[in-house]
Every structure is written in structure tokens, then in C-alpha cells.
């Protein structure tokens, strides 16, 4: 077995792991991680194939993967911005289509909201940017826990 074949097999196994994670995990951050692993497995396959020639290393797959790495990080950054916005709007970290049914979503959302409201001592007035409130609440808790630690 050559080195190229070995790494191609590793790339296949990584693809399997990435797909598995993508399907089974619901947390948005974990899905982003799974997509990144999926991407790196394809990169690994391409670079392994660049190594199969006995007398030279093919620069074309290297160039493709180089652009791919930069695009992967920009896509990751965009996905994370999207996840943050989604989280700020709904308080959830997983997508609603992962719920078993549409009805399951609504009560869950309601419960979550009322819980958050209770913790912050009264819900934000409608139309008020909710996120600010949450941020302040969190930093207050930080300060409390910091004081407790000292």
C-alpha cells in the first residue's frame, strides 16, 4: 500500500465520521464542526491523490485545496454569524426542523421564553432588542460568580 492510498482511506473514514456527526448532532456549533471535518476529509483525499505520481507532486490539487481552505474558513465564519443571530432571535441552538413535529416546537419555545423571562425578572417589552437584556443579565451573573470565587 502506498502512502497516497493510505491517506485516501483515512480520508474516507473521516468522511464517514463527518457525515455521522452532521446527521446525529443537533447543536449548531457541532454541526459546523462536523462540516469542517467533512471538508478537511475531501481536502485530504485531493492532496493524497496529488501524491500518487511516482516522480512529482501535482501542484493543481494543492492550489485547489488552498482556495478550499480559505473558503471553508469564510463559510465557517458566516455559519457562526448566522448561528449567533438565530440564537439571539430564538434562544435556541438547534434548528426547528429537527423537532419531531411542528407542534413540538411552539410549546418548547414558549417554555424557554418564560424561563428566560423569570430569570431576568420580567420579560423585555415587545419591540425592545432582547439580546441586550440577555447580555447584561449574563455579565451580572459573571460578576456575581467572580465575587463568589474571590
Amino acid at each position: 500500500m502506498s502512502q497516497a492510498a493510505f491517506y485516501a482511506l483515512v480520508a474516507g473514514a473521516l468522511t464517514g465520521i463527518g457525515i455521522y456527526g452532521l446527521i446525529t448532532q443537533r447543536h449548531l456549533l457541532r454541526r459546523v464542526l462536523a462540516v469542517n471535518i467533512l471538508g478537511s476529509s475531501v481536502f485530504l483525499l485531493l492532496v493524497a491523490l496529488a501524491r500518487r505520481h511516482p516522480d512529482y507532486v501535482d501542484p493543481v490539487p494543492h492550489a485547489m485545496v488552498l482556495t478550499g481552505i480559505v473558503i471553508a474558513v469564510s463559510a465557517t465564519a458566516f455559519a457562526l454569524v448566522l448561528a449567533r443571530r438565530y440564537h439571539a432571535a430564538t434562544g435556541l441552538t438547534h434548528l426547528p426542523e429537527d423537532e419531531e413535529s411542528e407542534e413540538a416546537l411552539a410549546p418548547g419555545l414558549l417554555n424557554r421564553r418564560s424561563l428566560a423571562d423569570r430569570r431576568s425578572g420580567g420579560g423585555p417589552p415587545p419591540g425592545q432588542p432582547e439580546r441586550r437584556q440577555g447580555a447584561r443579565r449574563r455579565s451580572d451573573e459573571d460578576r456575581r460568580s467572580d465575587e463568589g470565587a474571590q
Partner: protein, 87 residues
């Protein structure tokens, strides 16, 4: 000499894999993060050894980059709220 470099690289890689236990078991987030930073240093050493053993001098630049940018992750970690760093 190449043989020695390769052997050392294998040893360091083995070291890194065993050290992953610390990341796995924690118990605090700081333990995990410090172990990851240590692995950054191990990777630098592995890359320097590979640069010699594979006669690829450009790998020294890779080691340089890891050294330079190690602080970014460390700083990003320190920005986590303190209550999440405890575990």
C-alpha cells in the same frame, strides 16, 4: 541522522496522542486549553524534525507560524466568561 529525526518525530507524536488524555478528562476547561497549547508546541517540534527528515525547509515556516499565532487561541480562551472556565 535522518533516522534519529524520524524516530524523534514518531516519539513526539506518540507523546501528543497520550497527552490527549488530559484534554479528554479535563476536568476544568483551563486544563483542556493548556494541553491544547502544549500540543501546539509539540507540533512545532514535530514540524521542525520533519523539515530535516523530509528535506522540506518550508516546514520551518509552518513552525514559525504556529509559534507566532499560538497566542490568538489563548487570548480567545481568556475571553470566555469565568463561570464556564471552571469546568
Amino acid at each position: 541522522m535522518t533516522l534519529l529525526y524520524t524516530g524523534l518525530a514518531v516519539f513526539l507524536l506518540l507523546n501528543l496522542l497520550v497527552g490527549l488524555m488530559r484534554v479528554y478528562f479535563g476536568p476544568t476547561a483551563a486544563d483542556r486549553m493548556l494541553a491544547a497549547l502544549l500540543f501546539g508546541t509539540t507540533t512545532v517540534a514535530v514540524l521542525l524534525l520533519l523539515a530535516e527528515a523530509m528535506a522540506l525547509s518550508a516546514l520551518r515556516d509552518v513552525a514559525l507560524l504556529f509559534t507566532l499565532l499560538a497566542a490568538v487561541v489563548a487570548l480567545a480562551f481568556t475571553r470566555l466568561p469565568r463561570r464556564f472556565k471552571g469546568r
